[in-house]
């Protein structure tokens, strides 16, 4: 088991609010790690630490280390653009650009300097195939992405992330806006993607964490309460708070 993402004594503040408290977590390579917990526990913030998307917000402060393949992603020498190419993200709000299906997937490549041509085209098509969307959009790549259904749009967003050939893909509650059938498709896809990528998925849906993940982290009010193999967490949680959450006593 290779450690892909590691945090050491990670603390995070929004202004004066202490959102993440001394987080130490080791996320294994090529597996699905779920981060679950009730609203406001800091799980989305933790996810956005991994691709430095919190940088966009004014007045945040971070201490401790976040290592990707052993290198601190918050060190001065890190190229944030390249970091975000290596660590892709799929959002809760299904957010394809109001462009064609093709241009949505090509967006990241163009950002990183790719020119139009067969190389770009084949990467776009491969990414759409990898996101299990090809059969539904084959032949209509130049139609607007906004004409797709919600579930298709979310898989398009996954294709968009895959096109950059990332090593890690972050999913921030990717199914909370989707119907059960679309959710099943995305979960199936996540199962498939973990062969190639390290997947970290934030969810407040306990069943989803149980279904898709190999490892589960449980967070509460900024603390990482427990982190273990998913079957371990769900069958014999060590912490009382985890058990109370899983049995529905709060959350």
């Amino acid at each position: 088991m290779v450690d892909k993402v590691v945090t050491e004594n990670l603390d995070f503040w929004y202004g004066d609010t202490h959102v993440l408290k001394n987080i130490n977590i080791t996320i294994p390579d090529k597996a699905v790690t779920a981060i679950m917990g009730p609203s406001g526990c800091g799980k989305s913030t933790l996810l956005r630490v991994f691709n430095r998307l919190n940088d966009l917000i004014d007045g945040t402060r971070i201490t401790g280390k976040v290592l990707l393949d052993g290198k601190d992603i918050y060190s001065e020498s890190i190229d944030v653009s390249n970091l975000r190419r290596r660590v892709g993200m799929v959002f809760q709000s299904v957010n394809p650009f109001p462009k064609s299906i093709f241009e949505n997937v090509a967006y990241g490549l163009r950002i990183h300097g790719w020119r139009s041509g067969t190389k770009l085209e084949s990467r776009v098509i491969d990414s759409i195939k990898a996101a299990a969307l090809w059969d539904e959009v084959n032949g209509s790549l130049h139609k607007s992405a906004l004409d797709l259904s919600g579930g298709q749009q979310q898989r398009l967003c996954i294709a968009r992330a895959i096109a950059n050939e990332p090593e890690v893909i972050l999913f921030d509650e990717p199914c909370s806006a989707l119907d059960p059938i679309s959710t099943a498709k995305v979960e199936e896809l996540i199962e498939e993607l973990k062969k190639k990528y390290t997947i970290i998925i934030v969810t407040h849906n306990i069943q989803q964490a149980a279904r898709v993940s190999d490892y589960t982290a449980f967070m509460l009010l900024g603390d990482l309460v427990e982190f273990d193999r998913t079957e371990q967490i769900f069958t014999t949680p060590k912490d009382e708070r985890t058990e109370n959450y899983l049995t529905g006593k709060f959350g």
């Binding site: 957010n95 109001p98 992330a161």
Partner: protein, 282 residues
């Protein structure tokens, strides 16, 4: 008692709307009926003749076209870039508030003041003379607030999630603005631009000292030429010359052409806006 108040209130608002509609209708009909008498193909495509007592208004139509296009060419890039700065780059604070107050104040300045400013700066100081260039720049400043406000609104309306998606793929700020935000805001920006064109086409005072000429048979040769323009032509017909019996009908014809032009431009903006609203699914 309450019912009576309700009834009176309804009566009041209904009467107000009716009053507005009737006034609008009377103005339109007044100009349309009088103007229609003189309008024909020749009126639209011929230059004025016989000391503006005969002939058409072709040079004025062309002049207004040049001035409106020139002003938008100047104001659109400047306005959009300013809006990008105000919405995406500037941090909220005294400085941005001051700029926004300034932009709003600019919108409230009487248009004749822009005319004086244009005369002093573009005509005299920069030495453009009374010309299309000086007039376009003056009109451009006049419509800047319209463009800036419309662009700001359009940019702010672009969902935050588009920006996040772009950054998350590794885009820089400028890449995000140009490739994700602006294309999504473009329809709103264009609506503002069209409204700006309509405003520029209809204004008289800003071009009074900066671009318009009273009478010109030929078309302008360069941007440093002075031009005839529709609103100024009306003014000239009504104030200059010695044969009002011939000039006044031509003035109404010109007014009708100008009115239709501006209404058409505004209509185009409205159609564009509703179409976009329908197509917009985020």
């Amino acid at each position: 008692m309450r019912k009576q108040k309700e009834f009176l209130g309804l009566l009041l608002v209904r009467f107000s709307v009716l009053f507005v509609l009737i006034s609008l209708f009377i103005i339109l009909m007044f100009v349309a009926v009088r103007g229609f008498e003189v309008i024909d193909i020749g009126f639209l495509l011929e230059p004025p003749r016989a000391g503006m007592t005969k002939g058409g208004i072709f040079p004025a139509i062309i002049g207004t076209f040049y001035l409106a296009m020139g002003s938008i060419l100047f104001a659109l890039p400047l306005g959009v870039l300013s809006a990008i700065y105000l919405t995406e780059y500037a941090r909220l604070g005294k400085w941005v508030r001051a700029i926004k107050i300034g932009v709003n104040a600019l919108a409230g300045v009487p248009s004749v003041v822009f005319g004086l400013f244009g005369l002093a700066i573009f005509v005299k100081f920069f030495g453009f003379g009374v010309s299309i260039l000086a007039g376009s720049l003056t009109l451009g400043i006049l419509i800047l607030p319209t463009i800036i406000r419309a662009s700001e609104e359009a940019i702010i309306a672009v969902p935050r999630t588009f920006r996040e998606a772009s950054f998350a793929l590794g885009a820089s700020k400028w890449q995000t603005v140009t490739k994700a935000v602006l294309p999504s805001a473009l329809p709103g920006i264009l609506t503002g631009a069209i409204l700006g064109i309509g405003r520029a086409a209809g204004e008289t005072a800003p071009i009074l000292f900066t671009a318009a000429t009273f009478y010109q048979r030929r078309l302008p040769h360069s941007v440093l030429d002075e031009v005839m323009a529709l609103p100024y032509h009306i003014y000239a017909l009504m104030t200059e010359g010695t044969k009002p019996e011939f000039q006044v009908p031509i003035a109404y014809g010109t007014a009708l052409v100008l009115l239709l032009l501006v209404l058409g431009i505004n209509l185009a903006a409205i159609i564009l806006r509703t179409r976009i609203r329908r197509a917009k699914k985020w």
